[in-house]
Every structure is written in C-alpha cells, then in structure tokens.
Point group: C2
Chain length 722, copies 2
C-alpha cells in the first residue's frame, strides 16, 4: 500500500487539536469528514472535552490505543515538532501539518522546518506541509483539510466525484482551482496541497496520481521543484500511463520569483529550464488559470482530435468568421463540406452558407430543429476527398444558453447525435448561466464562452493527444567520462578558465575547435599566421579581462603579413586600457569564413541542472533572439530536433541556394557540449561557444568562454529539505 493511500483513504485518523468549532483549523477536517460521511475511524484529540462535534475525544494519541494511518496536526507552529514526534511514536504513517511560520519566514523558520524533516526521517513518519491546506479524496470522503471553498451561491458547493486530480503547492490556488473546475461541472478525484514541502512534494503526488485508477487528468500548480529527477520521473510516468499533466508553473518574472521566495520558500528555477523540462516530458504548460482549467476540463472528456481538420457551425455568420480566423491562426484546417452535404443543407434553408464555416441562417435562431438538421448533415457528411468528416466540431450557439426553450431541444438533439458517434469532439460556444455550461460538460461536450478559448483549447488537445500517442524518449545515458582537468580544478582554473583553457576543455570533450597558437611576441604571431596560411584572428588572452572587445582586444581578418603589427597593436591597447597585470599572450587562430554563425551554450540551473542552448549567431540574432533549449544531456536525435526547431533553420538547411550546413557536425557538437555540462554539473556554471561556425562540411568553435562554480557552492535551500 502506497503511503499516500494513508493520506487519501486512511482506515483511521487522529486529529490533534480537534476543535468543537467547525470553522476553526482543528474543527474543519472533522466537520467536513463527518458531513461527507467518511466511513473510517476518527479520533479527535483534545484533553479538555470528552466529545468533539459528537465524536468521542481522547486526551492524547496514546489513549486511543490504536495505531492510526493518518494524523492531522491542527496545532500552532510552536507545538508542531512535539506533536509530530508523539504521532510518530504512536505509529502514525503520515502527518498533515497546516501551521505556517516555517521556512517561508526566514532562517529561523527554515531551521524549525528542518527539525520536522529530521523527525520525519528519524521516526519514519511522512509529512504533508507545513504551511499547506492538506488534502481530500472525494470518493473516500476523507477531508484532511481546512479549505473554505464549498460555499456556492446555489448551495451546491461540495465536490462531485470525477477524474481530475488537483496537486497544488499553494493551498489557496488549489482551492481556487477546485472552485473553477466545480463551477464548470468537472468532478474531482483527489486534491492535495503541498505547501512548504518539507517531505511530500508535488513530484511524489504526481507519481502517485499517475498510478491512481480514479484519476485521468492531473492538474498541477507548481512554484518550484527541489530536484529535477523526481519531477521528471513523475511526469514521464504520468505520460506512460496516458494521463495528461496540465500545469501552471509560475515564477517566470523577476517579481514573481521574488514573491515565491517569501511565499513557500521554494527555489524557482529559471523559466527556460522549466519550459524545457515540461516540454521534454510532455506536460502541458498552461498560460493562465483559465487556460489550465479549460484544458483540464477538455482532457477530462478523454478524446483527442484525430487531425487538424475542424468543422465550424455557427448560428451567426460573424461567429463563423471569428472562429475561422482563430482556427487558421492556430493551424487548423476547415475543409469545405462535400457538395452533396451542401446541397442537402440548401434544401433545408435555401440561403444558408453551407461550406464550412456553416451558417444555417436566420431560421435556426428560432427553430432548434433547423440547427439540429444542419448538425446532423455536417457531422455525417464525409469530406470531399472521400475521407471521413472532421472529428472535431465547433458549434457557435451565441446567447442561446439564456433561452431554455431553444437550448433544451438542442441539448437533447446533440446528446442523441453524440450517441451515434461518441468519438466525435463537439465544442459548444454559448453565453448563459454557469449551470447551463456545467450541465453540457457533464453531458460530454466541451463548453466555452468565447470562440478564442475554444480554439486555443482544441489546439492544446491536439498537442496533448499527439504527446500521449508517442512514447516518451528515454533519458540518454552519458557517454562522456569526467575530464581530469575538471575533477580537481586548479585554483587558477576555478577563478575563471582563460579562452585557451576553455578551448582545451571543449576539445577534450570532443567538440571541434578551430586551431590556435598562443604567441608571446610579434615574431611568433607572424610565424603562427603564416603557418595557418591565410587570414587570422588575434585575441588578447588574459583571465582578468572579462570582455576582450571592450578594450578592442580582438582583431579579425588579419593578413599573415600584418600579423606582427596586429600583435603589437593589441599590446598597445592593453597598456592603454590600464588593465592591471600582463596578458598571458596573444591567441592566433585561422579565420573560419563563409560559414553560418551559431551559438552553443550551457547555463546551469541551480535546481534543474545544465540547460543546453542552441541559437543563431550574429548581431541580428542578438537583437531578435532565435534560440531553443533542452535540459542536458541530449542525444543526437534530440540535438537534431533542436536544430530543426530554430526559426532560422532554413538558413542552415540551404535556403536560397546557399550550401547546406553540416548538421551532423552541429548535432554532435551539441551532444558533446551537453555531456560535458551534465558530467560536470557540479563544477561548471556556464559555457558560451559563440560563435560556432557551421560549415558545409564540418564546423568548429572559434570562441569559447566558461565559468566554474565557486569553491564552496552556496547550498541551495532545496538541499536543506530532502
């Protein structure tokens, strides 16, 4: 039995600090579980009264005389450690801690929280929280939570059983998402908020729900993960089980990330790293709370578009235009209906617009039978090519949600049509009270108030369906061994590898790097240039010089005969700049011309590890970046996919009669760079290979820059809370 089963469907529960007031933190879990009819044994712990909310109470957990599955600690922060230890000694398997004032408040709070984690590990009790809103399970009817979200204007505010699970790091957002789904008529399986995550975290909950047979869709609100591995594994498990993960990952802005740090004391990784992780694992990243709920509700139906063909039927010609615009922008195609279907429609309403988008015309606004006739003809029309009709339909019903005499017959007709082909996806767009939409969703339709939301959600369904239909790539195994030079880096190297050192390390990792010679005199420079036999680049080499170009420390395209003079000019510039110390020398390297400038880079995210970047180089790309990211390491296939994702890819692929770049060399370089970064994620902080010149045959790095981690890395908070 999974330990989280003891959280969601325990046989026995103790509520430490149980209160007779159903509105209080210690009263709500009991009140809700009782009201819902939780069939397990509940032991309120309260030393001052014999009965709490009609249930016999105990002075202490020891008095219960039974080991409980789950202990809810509804006591102030100051008593938590003591009660946690007592619960553990009494044999409880999992504890739920609501109290705040832990890691989110600063150093002292972090220490307090660390103590909870230590107790948990030491005594073998698992912990949800602290600073969380707990969990509940709609089918087991256990409410280990104090959430206040069951109010509803028509009194029907309690969750109904369904197949969407909510996992939220924030309690309030978890409750908010529940209300959004409930108001849309979407039922729930389980609900869990993880708060400060001193033990059980979002990743563990996702992995659990991936295996949970009551759950078909996993909705996640994530502020930050503690480690890459568990989250990645959980997301891949959900994917393998065919369950979409629909996630709102926040903290993409500087301000947002700041608010998180003071909120649940999480480390928010850089957004690009999360973007890469979620995309690599096939999770759907929602753009907003509304998008999250729209997409989750659509996934709840469990059907995904077969292709990008859609049919549009609109009770307003204008609505058809709005939908057609939105569909085209989202990459959908509106195939015209076959002439036979169009003819049948014209027989119903002579001046209808029967192509696609279909507009039945004015009679449909007053006669539901007309609309239903058009729907039936359209749904069963087939395509002109002889193919089947689109599997996805958008039906714009304007404000008929407000008109029961119109809506009811339409609804009945739609349900009958659905019975004839339940695989068809029918998205209704209409205005009306929320309850109308909720009912139609329960009937198996997608329902939206705005055409654009409908199209955006269908586009998401397409992506999710495609993702669920393809196996997740296996995480590549590292081919690269650790480089000796980085195993125990010299103090000099650690302070900042020079360009020469960086080039050497890249070469050792297997990247092609343009040849170079470090010269110490003008004569050596001339000799080196003549040795290379063509135009050369000269660069000052000096660790203390962060940006060579600031003092004009780079000279490009120098003819061999001019190399000696160029060398002396660089030394003159060095002196003129007043930079302290002396340069190590001047690096002479052949010019690699007529290739395409690309950028290869690595940035190590403190939580998710090395992030690999590939992009177009040159000044234009600097102003309008064209880059793609993946978490390292990547395999060849993934590296090639990165290259192809670049918007400027045609440039590399021989657009406009240019020679095609050697993509194999480029992909190899990306793989090697990613392996270098992954093998030394503890040492390397960042690498820039800018530019890497892609040539028709081969290619090579002509500049390299690398930064190592400081000697004693600042332990990220994540490490404190295992």
């Amino acid at each position: 039995m999974h330990v989280l089963d003891k959280l969601f469907r325990p046989a026995s529960v103790a509520i430490i600090g149980a209160s007779s007031d159903p509105e209080k933190l210690g009263g709500r879990p009991l009140a809700m579980s009782l009201q819902a009819g939780f069939p397990g044994r509940i032991y309120p712990i309260n030393s001052r009264v014999p009965v709490v909310q009609g249930v016999q109470a105990y002075a202490s957990l020891v008095d219960v005389g039974e080991r409980v599955d789950c202990a809810i600690l509804a006591v102030p922060a100051t008593s938590i450690a003591q009660e946690l230890e007592a619960a553990a000694r009494a044999g409880a398997d999992v504890a739920v801690i609501f109290a705040s004032s832990f890691a989110e408040t600063g150093a002292a709070g972090r220490q307090q929280q660390q103590r909870l984690a230590d107790i948990g590990r030491e005594h073998g009790i698992r912990i949800l929280g602290p600073n969380c809103m707990g969990a509940f399970d709609v089918r087991s009817r256990f409410y280990a939570s104090f959430l206040q979200a069951f109010d509803h204007y028509d009194g029907k505010g309690w969750p109904e059983p369904g197949a969407v699970a909510i996992v939220s790091q924030s309690g309030a957002i978890g409750a908010h998402l529940f209300v959004m789904l409930r108001d849309r008529g979407i039922g729930l399986s389980r609900f869990v908020t993880t708060g400060n995550q001193c033990d059980i975290d979002v990743a563990e909950c996702i992995a659990y729900l991936a295996e949970d047979e009551d759950t078909r869709v996993i909705v996640v609100y994530l502020e930050g993960a503690r480690q890459r591995e568990p989250l990645e594994q959980a997301l891949l498990l959900a994917r393998a089980r065919g369950k979409p993960v629909v996630m709102l990952k926040v903290g993409s802005s500087a301000t947002g990330a700041g608010a998180i740090a003071s909120h649940t004391a999480s480390l928010a990784g850089s957004d690009a790293a999360y973007e890469a992780l979620l995309s690599q694992c096939g999770a759907y990243r929602a753009a907003s709370l509304a998008d999250l709920v729209d997409v989750a509700a659509a996934c709840h139906v469990g059907r995904y578009p077969a292709d990008h063909r859609v049919g549009v039927i609109s009770l307003s010609g204008g609505g058809g235009v709005v939908l057609a615009d939105a569909c085209e922008r989202a990459g959908f195609v509106l195939p015209p209906l076959p002439e036979s279907a169009q003819q049948r429609m014209r027989e119903v309403v002579p001046f209808c617009a029967p192509r696609n988008p279909v507009d039945p015309g004015a009679p449909a606004m007053t006669d539901p039978a007309v609309t239903l006739k058009f729907l039936q003809i359209a749904f069963e029309s087939g395509a002109p090519s002889g193919a089947a009709a689109p599997s996805t339909w958008l039906v714009f019903l304007t404000h008929l949600g407000h008109v029961p005499r119109m809506l009811e017959p339409l609804r009945e007709g739609l349900i009958a049509l659905r019975r004839r082909d339940p695989t068809r996806i029918v998205a209704l767009i209409l205005l009306g009270p929320e309850s109308v939409g909720a009912q139609l969703r329960r009937d198996g339709f997608l329902v939206f108030g705005d055409p654009l939301d409908a199209v955006r959600t269908l586009a998401a369904l397409c992506r999710i369906g495609a993702m669920l239909g393809t196996p997740a790539p296996e995480r590549p195994r590292l081919a690269l061994l650790r480089l000796p030079g980085l195993e125990k880096p010299s103090a000099e190297l650690r302070a900042g590898p020079s360009e020469l050192q960086a080039r050497t390390l890249l070469r050792q990792a297997g990247l092609p790097v343009a040849p170079e010679r470090l010269v110490l005199s003008a004569a050596q420079a001339a000799d080196a240039a003549h040795g290379f036999g063509g135009r050369v680049a000269l660069k000052l080499v000096a660790p203390q010089l962060a940006h060579k170009s600031d003092i004009g420390g780079v000279m490009l395209g120098v003819e061999p005969d001019a190399a000696a003079a160029a060398h002396n000019e660089l030394l003159r510039r060095w002196q003129a700049s007043g930079t302290p110390g002396a340069p190590e020398g001047v690096l002479v390297s052949p010019m690699i011309e007529h290739g395409i400038e690309t950028i290869l880079g690595v940035q190590v995210d403190p939580v998710l590890g090395p992030l690999l970047m590939f992009g177009l180089g040159g000044i234009d790309a600097e102003l309008r970046p064209d880059v793609v990211f993946r978490l390292a390491p990547v395999e060849r296939r993934e590296a090639l996919a990165m290259i192809r994702e670049l918007r400027s890819y045609p440039l590399l692929d021989g657009a406009r009669g240019r020679p095609r770049a050697d993509l194999d060399t480029l992909a190899d370089a990306l793989v090697r760079l990613s392996e270098l970064a992954a093998a030394h994620a503890d040492r390397i902080a960042a690498i820039d290979v800018n530019p890497f010149i892609a040539l028709p045959q081969g290619g090579c790095a002509v500049d390299a820059w690398m930064v190592l981690q400081p000697e004693e890395p600042v332990t990220p908070l994540a490490k404190e809370t295992p």
Copy 2:
C-alpha cells in the same frame, strides 16, 4: 438634426408589414417598442386587419396622412424595392430593411441591392441594411429591430441605460455583444447593425456616436469597410471627442475572409492594412469577443492608469505570484510598498507578505476586516520615493464571490475606500455568480474571473489612455505632384516596368537610387564599370524576365576588369535559359557595400489604398520578418516612428559599435515612396525597393521592382454600393 437621430429617436414610425405575432419579423419591433414604452407615434401598416397588437393599423403609408421619420420595412426581399419607393414618396427619412437575399447571395442579389441604393439616392431616403438586425436606443425606447436577445435566466434581460454603444456589421454578433455586456452589468446607449450596408455603414454610425452625448465608449464589430476615408475620419472624430473605439476586425485569415464574402458581401481588406489604419487612428483592436467586452467594460468606467505602476493584493500568495508574472510580462512595474506601510501591515498580521504583491495571509480568508485594513494601508501608502501610491490596483479575492457573508462587507468597505479617492482604478479578480460581478461593475470596479484577463485589460487601458491623451496626427498633405510618366503610361510600361524604368520613376519621386548604365556590349560594360571606379553589379534587363535570379541574371561584386566577361556570361545564361526574345541590355551599377540592407515597399490594398512597408533586409529577415506598416502617405515624423518600431532598430542606431545609419535619408526615402504610391494609387499596384542600403551618410536603392494596375481595373464591389 442628424438623419440617424430619426433612426434612433424618431417622432413617428411606420412599420410596413406589421404583424400581430410578436415573434415575427413584422411583430417584434412593434412588440418591443410597446413593451419598452416608446412615446413616439407608431403606425402599423397592414391592409388585412384594422388593429395590430392593440394599435390602430393602416392599409398603406399614404393612409397615415403624416410624414414619418422612420419606416421599418418588415416585408420579404421581393417587395422591398416597391415598399422602399413608397416610403420615400410618403416622405420617410430613413428606412430599416431586415430582409436578406441581396448582395450576400451573388450577382443577382447585388443588382437587387444596387436598385435599393439607387432608389435611396434618387428619392432622398436613407437606408439601414438590407440583411441587418436594425437598431435600438435604450433611452428613447425605440426598437427598430427583430433581435431575440432579451431572454435571460433570471428574467432581467432587457438592456439598461449606459454609455456603451454597439455598432456591428453582423446582426447576430451585435446581439451577442449586447448579451455579453448586459451579463457583465454594462448598460447601453445605442445599438445598430448595418448588414449589407447599401447606404448607412459602420463608419457613418461611428461618426454619429462620436458626437452622441449618451455614448462614452463605441464598440465595433467590423468585417470590412468600403472606403478608407470615411472610416478614418470617423475614428479620428471619436478620438478627438475622447471616446475610445474598441473594435473587433475579423477576416484576418484566408478562410475567414472567404466566409465574409459569402456573408455580408463586404470587401475584407488585407489585415496589415486594417491593422495600420486602426493603429494610426488610435482605435483599440480587440483580440477576441471576450477581450472586446473586457476592454469596453473597463473603458465604461472612464478612468485610465496614470502610469505603469500597479499594486497587487492577493488573498493567496500564489495568486500574487500569478499576477506578478503577468504584470511583468505586460510591462507593468510593482514598486515595493514603503517600509512604514509594510510595518503597519505586519502589525495587523505578523506573518503577512507586505511588499507588493501583498499577501495578508490566512486571517484575511475568514475576516473581511483584515483584507479591508490591508487595502486601506496599501491604497494610501505612497511610494518609497515619496511619490504617490500606484493609481492602479489588482485585488485577487479568489472564490469569495460565492461567499456573501465575506463578500458583502468587502464590497461595502471597497465602496467606502473608493469614495475617498474615486480616481483610483481597482480591478477585482474573483470567482462567483455572474450577478456578483455585474453588481461590482455597477459599483465602479473592474471585475475579472482570471488574473491574466485583468492584466491584459489594464494594459489595454494604458494604451487607450495614452492615445486619448495625445492629439491625433493630422493626415499629411501630399507634396508630390503626379509623375507625367505614370499619368498616361505607355502600353509597355503598363505591361510591367523594367528595373530601369522603375529606378527612373523612383528617382523622379525623389528617392536616392544608385547610379546605373544600361549597356549593350561587353566593351560598354567594361567602360561603365571603370567609369564607376570600383566593384559593380551586372543585371540582365528584360521585361519578360520576372525573376532575374532564377536564370542567374545577376552578378554581384564584379571587379571592373572582369566586367566585360561578366557581361558575356550573362548573355550566355540568357540564351541557355531559352527565354524568348532578347534582353534590353545589361544594367551596370556600382556595388554599395558595408551598409545595412533594408526593404521599402508598397502594396495597394483594394479598399484602404497604398500600404507602406519598412523592414530589415537580408536572408535572416526573410526567414523571420521584421517589418512595420503604415497607410500612405506618411510624414517624416511618422516615417521615423516606423524606423524606430523595427525590432532590429538598434542595428540601424549603431548597436555594438557599428556606425549609425543615416536615418534622415531613410525617413526621406519612406516619405517619398509613400507619396509616390499615394499620388498614383490608381496606377500602382506594388513596389519593392529591396534592398535599400542604409549608409552612415546617405543611402540608396540598389534594386527596384514595380507593378502597375491592369488597364481596366476590376471594379471592386465597394464601388457598386456608394
């Protein structure tokens, strides 16, 4: 008195084809006007019954014995022309025509519609429609419409008086927009749908509403205009009167544009041309129906953000993060609250997050007084710099719209705070029944269900506020006279100007063009190249050659000594290509090197006229276009604005130590090109100056391509219906 006053608030009305059935086309206008209590005189015209819906009927309009302001023609399409003429003869000023089966059905229908337009012009009667849903005026209580949108689940479906006017080309979308606004609690001034626009069009309605004292915000659904001038004038008039125009312009997709053609027989101009027109006139172009209504509702409040600083107060820390993310992406700044305010907040809730975003913590979820205390401290806090507190606040109240015992005290407190400073903009984000949001909007708050919608709408308010605060630019006067060569173009020129002819025309228009010589032999080529004194470009000149580069007809960077050989090579390629006829010669032109490649272009939109384009040149820009558009002509200031709007502008402005391009020359070239196109909009179809090389001093066109209109331009539909 404006003629549209006779449509919206007539003293007397005749309903031709008045019906006793209030659900029929001829029954609804009478039924609605009676139910609303329209105080004017109504004359139902029905030859078969003496009384219609309790009102004395007349057999014909002549029998009324009075001239009426407005005639509603509720008769079938086949009788419309006859009844229109009768109404005109009886002295009616304006006719409303509901019937469809006119221009939207094809050539025969277009002829029918043209007849209506002719009758209208001949007899001096103005026409709304055909194929429209009519109009209504909430204050005059006149309903010249058959719309069916007043159903509402709680029975309160009739429009309330307010300051938003709806102008819609589509009747059903007009009704849909009315329902969306009504359900949000936003009242209406006037409502008009223009349908096939055989006379009164969207532009005329906007101009009328710009001067209408009951209207503060003009909501528009536009499929296509018939001419640029009236729409532009109407938009500029609304702007001058301080009234935002919030517009959904559809038909941006190929499919969408197709649907329009069959829908209201409008010409949908190219999207870039409309985008330019709306932006140049300061209209807000909505991204969706929901965006349209969100922004219109926000404008209805009539307050615009003073700057980009916002304060965020969230009953959920997570909500604060979501809002902070969205604000930052939208360009807003969240200044931290002053330390004194933060201290006061900590005194209320010790473990609150008081910076900005502000999270009062758990106590606020159960005690409205806590939230109100935080709001008051925040609103009146001032900024750390000593400046005033932000004028714009986002307040995330999660699902409290469902909890009256929490919401009511919050609402009262918010209203009290608002009274102390009515200029503050307070956007509430909450879940709950629609009626709660509608009430809060009537109280003067902005209300949203999703944080992203709130932030997007505030960003729109900023742009609209800034637009209303600056005077519209005057339309520039054309400095350029018409070029004789284009006044009466030769047959040869009309067939397609050669590059030499195009260069000559551009030079005549005042654009700098690189010098060139047309040569007829290798010796002449060598002579020309030596004359230019540097590397040259050679190009085949032949009108029959659409794409010179397809047969290798261009050679760049040729040394003068190699010019003769290059000339012969071009002739060899010509022969090898098998192109019929002979080339006119070879064009020799000096290479303009080391500048920045830009593109200047013109595309003439059939409705809106010449559209000027400026963009970055080169292959990278071809893959990832970086272009800006304006309708021609443009003045110098506007041309400079175009240049600065380019994402790659820093490249032209001397980024990375490059020489700054001569922006004056560039701007002059744009002005001249735009004037050339505007002066000859009837002759020119398209111009490409690609590239125009921008140099540190000066700059010039090095290639030119031009297409003229065919001899007998296909008369666009717009011209048929004046």
